[in-house]
């Protein structure tokens, strides 16, 4: 089976003349964007939504976020996950060589495919992965019908 890479995994970390050049390029973009450092805005985390027998499961990638940075609401059949990833602080007398991660505010909403027990929703954030489990409301659960 072919192993595919979405980005080139082999990426040289330049420690020679290149880094000086990159600092210059970063400096150029920094002045255009109004600030240096990691790219501001554009943070749009990816989510998977799946269904088990008795729950809807929503999983999102939120690296670097703490639970205080997140707000999860269920309202009118819509689940909304909103939050902010703060830009990392650069220690004093340090300089960026490369900044690829994205930061800023985000909000993602999901129309729930069936009614859920909104009082029993469970959310956990482990290793940058948010998992929200929304139990199906009684009327949405599979029911076996007895044959008379």
């Amino acid at each position: 089976m072919t192993v595919r890479f979405r980005q080139n995994p082999i990426f040289a970390l330049p420690f020679g003349d290149l880094s000086a050049f990159e600092r210059e390029v970063d400096g150029l973009f920094g002045s255009v964007l109004g600030e240096g450092g990691p790219a501001a805005g554009g943070f749009s985390p990816r989510f998977d939504v799946s269904s088990t027998e008795d729950s809807l499961v929503v999983v999102g990638e939120l690296p670097g976020l703490k639970k205080e940075d997140l707000k999860i609401t269920v309202h009118d059949g819509v689940l909304t996950v909103a939050g902010e990833r703060k830009a990392p602080a650069l220690p004093e007398d340090a300089a960026w060589l490369r900044t690829e991660t994205v930061h800023g505010r985000f909000s993602r909403s999901f129309v729930l495919p069936y009614p859920v027990e909104s009082g029993a929703v469970d959310a956990s954030l482990v290793d940058g992965l948010l998992t929200i489990v929304l139990p199906k409301a009684a009327e949405a659960r599979p029911r076996s019908i007895a044959i008379r």
Partner: protein, 127 residues
């Protein structure tokens, strides 16, 4: 029909195995007077599965994702397609190969690569 044919036939009927798709994690790198610090976004990886190796001039970071959808009956939306992370970095000669700190917190791997003494800024006393 021989045994090989039978095997080939049943392989076609089976569900295809999930594709092994590794992506390069996004990284930020900064330099301090005595070290280079790399942070890599690797949400869903675990400390136990994380592999950081240095071989010669190459630093390689690898981690599989833990399975995320146990007991799934149906997938309703899928934006996360990868099954793991992998990225290699080429180290310059001014990095101390023995002194690398690795930390994994909140889905972010932080590597601190110390400079060899030769590469650190030094103040020269004037006699």
């Amino acid at each position: 029909m021989n045994a090989n044919h039978t095997n080939a036939g049943s392989a076609v009927m089976r569900r295809p195995a999930p594709m092994d798709l590794k992506v390069a994690p996004s990284v930020d790198i900064y330099e301090t007077p005595d070290a280079f610090v790399i942070t890599a976004d690797m949400p869903g990886a675990t400390k136990q599965g994380m592999e950081v190796t240095i071989e010669g001039d190459s630093l390689v970071v690898r981690a599989p994702l833990a399975p995320r959808h146990p007991g799934t009956v149906s997938m309703l939306a899928r934006e996360i397609h990868h099954t793991g992370y992998e990225r290699a970095f080429t180290l310059g000669g001014d990095i101390d190969r023995a002194g690398v700190d690795a930390r994994f917190e909140l889905g972010v791997l932080t590597l601190k690569l110390y400079k060899s003494d030769r590469a650190k800024p030094r103040e020269i006393a004037i006699r």
